[in-house]
C-alpha cells in the first residue's frame, strides 16, 4: 500500500481506485468498500459509502484534511510515501524534546553545551494558565535550545535537542 493517513495516533494504509460506479477504498485487511463523493448544486457534499448517503463538510490545508462527519470533526494527515520511508530509518525521539502543548517559556535553566542528567529540569513552560516542568529524557549534552524566556510555541514544537549519542562516540 502506497498511501497512508494519520488519524489521531494511528496510521491507516490504503489505496483508492476507480470502480464501475464511483470509487473503491482498499484497506490493508483486504476489505474493499465502494464509495463516492458528490457536491450538490448548493455546495453541500455527500459521501456515499456502501450505498448509504452521509452529508460531509471537508476542508483541506496542505496535507491536512478536516472532515465533519456525523456531528463530529476529524483531522487526517496525508503521509507522504518518501517521508514515511525516512521516518522508518530510525527516529531518535530521545534526542528531541517536543512541546506537549502550545505555550510560552517561563524559564530555561540550561544552554547549549551543558551536560544534563536524566530527570534534570531543562525548562519551565506555561500553558493553560499553569506551569509545567520539562525534564531531560536521558543523560546527555544539550545541543540547542530553541526558545528564550517569554517566547511562545505550538504543540509539538522542538523545545530543546540533545547531542545524539552516536556523535559523542
Amino acid at each position: 500500500m502506497h498511501h497512508a493517513f494519520k488519524l489521531g495516533d494511528a496510521e491507516h494504509n490504503l489505496e483508492i481506485s476507480r470502480g464501475a460506479d464511483g470509487y473503491r477504498l482498499h484497506l490493508i485487511d483486504d476489505q474493499t468498500v465502494p464509495f463516492d463523493l458528490k457536491t450538490g448544486a448548493d455546495g453541500r457534499q455527500w459521501l456515499t459509502l456502501d450505498g448509504v448517503h452521509h452529508e460531509v463538510v471537508i476542508a483541506t490545508k496542505g496535507d491536512d484534511v478536516f472532515i465533519h462527519f456525523d456531528g463530529e470533526a476529524y483531522q487526517l494527515r496525508y503521509e507522504h510515501p518518501l517521508k514515511r520511508l525516512a521516518a522508518a530509518g530510525g527516529g531518535a525521539a530521545e534526542d528531541r524534546v517536543m512541546a506537549p502543548m502550545p505555550g510560552s517559556i517561563v524559564n530555561v535553566t540550561v544552554k547549549a553545551g551543558d551536560a544534563v542528567t536524566k530527570g534534570q529540569v531543562l525548562l519551565v513552560m506555561e500553558s493553560m494558565k499553569m506551569e509545567t516542568t520539562i525534564t531531560a529524557p536521558r543523560d546527555g549534552v544539550i545541543e540547542a535550545v530553541t526558545y528564550d524566556k517569554g517566547q511562545t510555541f505550538d504543540r509539538d514544537a522542538l523545545l530543546l535537542s540533545l547531542v545524539a549519542l552516536e556523535k559523542k562516540k
Binding site: 481506485s17 477504498l25 472532515i67 494558565k129 506551569e131
Partner: protein, 504 residues
C-alpha cells in the same frame, strides 16, 4: 420578563454617546452589539493579531494598539486611554479579564474624564483582593469557609495552613480564574505547593501573597448575578450553576441550578444581593459561592464585572445585562425592584474551546477553515472568531459560547445536543464532541455534578473507539480530497479497476 427591560433607554440624556471596548474576541463583539443597538458609537482597540476578527469588522472605529505580546497590549491602560481620548470616546467598557478589575485603570479612566462602565475603584479594590473581600463579607455577617490568610501573620502561614487541615486549597490573594490554585491532600507537600502557588501568583498578578482554605469535597459552584446602581438600589438576577469545570475553569454553565429548591434559591440569591447592598454596589456583578453536598454554602468571591457566562441569565430573564451596565454608568437608576425580575425556561451555555479533551484538555491551534455556527430557535452563538480567522496560542483558547434556551432543562439538553452536532468548525480541534458526551452522561442529565466531576470521570474526555463506518467514511473522503491519491486513482482506467482486488 416585566415590561421595563423591553423598552430601550433614552440615550440622548446620557453623558456619553460613544463607548470604547477595551477587550477582544467574543466579549468585544457582545458589548458592541448592545452599544450599537442603543445608537451609540462603538469603538474597539485591537492588537495586530486580532486584525481579522469580528469585533474589528463590526466596530464603528477600530484603533490598533501595540505591545511586547498581544496580551500585553490589552493590558496597557495608558495606551488604551490615549486611544479613547483620540477617538473622543465618552466611556470605556472593559469586558472581562484584562483591565476589567484593575483599580488603577478605573481611576485613570475617570481621571481622564471618561466614564468607566463598571464599579467604583473602591469596590474593585475591596473585592479584587480575595482576602480583604472575605474578611469584609464575614464581618458583614455572611458565611465564609475556614481558612488561613498569609497577610495576617506571614511567619506562621505554613503552620496555620496546616491547622486548617487537608484537603486544602491554596489560592493567590490577588487571583481569579483558577490561576495559581492548588489542592493539597498530603500536608507533606504543603510547603512545596505554596512555593509553586506563590510563583504563579507573582507572575500572573504581580503579587505572591496567598491564602489557604478548607477544600470542600465535591462542591458545586453556584453564583448569583447582581445589578446595582450605586444609588441604593440592588437586585439579584438569579443564580447560575457552573459546576462542570476542568482545571478550575468553567465549561458549562446553566440557570436555574438543578441543585436548588425554591427556598434555597431565595436564600442564596438574597445573600448575594445582601453582599452587594452592603457595599452600595454599582454595575453588574457576580457573587460566587461554594455549595456543599449538604446544602451549606460559603462566599467564594465577588467579580465586579460582566461574567463570561452572563448570557444564560439574559436568556431566562430577557434582561440585556450590558444595557443595564451602560444605563447605570450613565447615572440612571435601576428603576425596578426585585419582584420585577422574573424568569422562565432554562438556559445552558457551552464554552467552545480549541482544545483536545482526550489529551488532558490541552489547547489546540489552527486556522478556522470552515465555520458554520448552529442555528434555530433558542440557539445563540456568541463568538469573535470568523471563517478565515485563526486560533493562536496568543490568547485564551475559547472560540465561542453556544447558549441554548429551552422550555425546561430536558428540552435545553436535547436542543443542545442537536446544536453541538450541527456546529461545523474545521481546521482546529474543538471540544464539541466532548461536550456531547458530557451532556449525555447520566449524572449530567440528572443534574448531579460537582466541580470534580470531570476529574472523577475521565472516560468522558477519552476519545471513544471509532466505528468502522466512520473510519471508512473518513478515509474515503480524505483520499478523494488528497491530490496525489485522487490523481493516481483517476489515471487507472475503470476497466482495470473493475477486475477487483487491485493493490500492490
Amino acid at each position: 420578563m416585566s415590561n421595563r427591560n423591553t423598552k430601550a433607554p433614552d440615550v440622548s440624556s446620557w453623558p456619553f454617546n460613544s463607548v470604547l471596548v477595551a477587550n477582544r474576541g467574543e466579549i468585544a463583539v457582545r458589548v458592541l452589539r448592545t452599544v450599537q443597538k442603543l445608537g451609540l458609537k462603538g469603538i474597539v482597540v485591537y492588537h495586530a493579531a486580532d486584525r481579522g476578527t469580528l469585533a474589528v469588522k463590526m466596530a464603528d472605529q477600530a484603533i490598533e494598539i501595540t505591545g511586547s505580546t498581544p496580551v500585553a497590549s490589552y493590558l496597557d491602560g495608558a495606551q488604551i486611554i490615549a486611544a479613547a481620548k483620540a477617538s473622543g470616546a465618552g466611556a470605556i467598557h472593559p469586558g472581562y479579564g484584562f483591565l476589567s478589575e484593575n483599580k488603577g485603570f478605573c481611576q485613570a479612566v475617570e481621571a481622564a474624564g471618561i466614564r468607566f462602565i463598571g464599579p467604583t475603584p473602591e469596590q474593585i479594590d475591596l473585592m479584587g483582593d480575595k482576602v480583604r473581600a472575605r474578611n469584609y463579607v464575614e464581618k458583614a455577617g455572611f458565611p465564609v469557609a475556614p481558612s488561613a490568610i498569609e497577610d495576617n501573620d506571614p511567619a506562621t502561614f505554613v503552620e496555620r495552613s496546616r491547622k486548617v487541615g487537608a484537603p486544602l486549597l491554596i489560592k493567590p490573594s490577588a487571583g481569579g480564574g483558577g490561576k495559581g490554585m492548588r489542592i493539597v491532600r498530603d500536608l507533606a507537600l504543603l510547603e512545596q505547593e505554596i512555593e509553586r502557588g506563590r510563583s504563579e501568583g507573582q507572575r500572573y498578578f504581580g503579587d505572591g501573597r496567598l491564602y489557604c482554605e478548607r477544600y470542600i469535597e465535591n462542591p458545586r459552584h453556584i453564583e448569583v448575578q447582581v445589578l446595582g446602581d450605586g444609588q441604593g438600589n440592588v437586585v439579584h438576577v438569579f443564580e447560575r450553576e457552573c459546576s462542570v469545570q476542568r482545571r478550575f475553569q468553567k465549561i458549562v454553565e446553566e440557570t436555574p441550578s438543578p441543585a436548588l429548591d425554591a427556598a434555597q434559591r431565595e436564600k442564596i440569591c438574597e445573600t448575594a444581593a445582601g453582599i452587594a447592598r452592603a457595599i452600595g454596589y454599582r454595575n453588574a456583578g457576580t457573587v460566587e459561592f461554594i455549595f456543599g453536598q449538604q446544602g451549606e454554602f460559603y462566599f467564594l468571591e465577588m467579580n465586579t464585572r460582566l461574567q463570561v457566562e452572563h448570557p444564560v441569565t439574559e436568556e431566562i430573564t430577557g434582561i440585556d445585562l450590558v444595557q443595564e451596565q451602560l444605563r447605570v454608568a450613565a447615572g440612571e437608576k435601576l428603576g425596578y425592584v426585585q419582584s420585577d425580575v422574573t424568569s422562565s425556561g432554562h438556559a445552558i451555555e457551552f464554552r467552545i474551546y480549541a482544545e483536545d479533551a482526550a489529551r488532558g484538555y490541552t489547547p489546540t491551534t489552527g486556522p478556522v477553515l470552515t465555520l458554520q455556527p448552529p442555528q434555530g430557535e433558542g440557539v445563540r452563538w456568541d463568538s469573535g472568531v470568523i471563517q478565515g480567522g485563526e486560533v493562536t496560542a496568543a490568547f485564551d483558547p475559547m472560540i465561542a459560547k453556544l447558549i441554548i434556551r429551552g422550555k425546561d432543562r430536558d428540552d435545553a439538553i436535547a436542543k443542545a445536543d442537536k446544536a453541538l452536532r450541527e456546529t461545523v468548525l474545521l481546521g482546529c480541534k474543538t471540544n464539541t464532541a466532548f461536550l456531547r458526551r458530557l451532556i449525555q452522561h447520566p449524572a449530567f442529565v440528572a443534574g448531579d455534578v460537582h466541580t470534580g466531576f470531570l476529574d472523577a470521570n475521565p472516560q468522558i474526555a477519552a476519545e471513544p473507539e471509532m466505528a468502522k463506518t466512520t473510519l471508512h467514511a473518513l478515509l474515503s473522503a480524505a483520499s478523494l480530497s488528497t491530490r496525489p491519491m485522487r490523481d493516481v486513482a483517476d489515471a487507472v482506467p475503470n476497466m482495470h479497476a473493475a477486475i477487483g482486488g487491485w493493490r500492490n
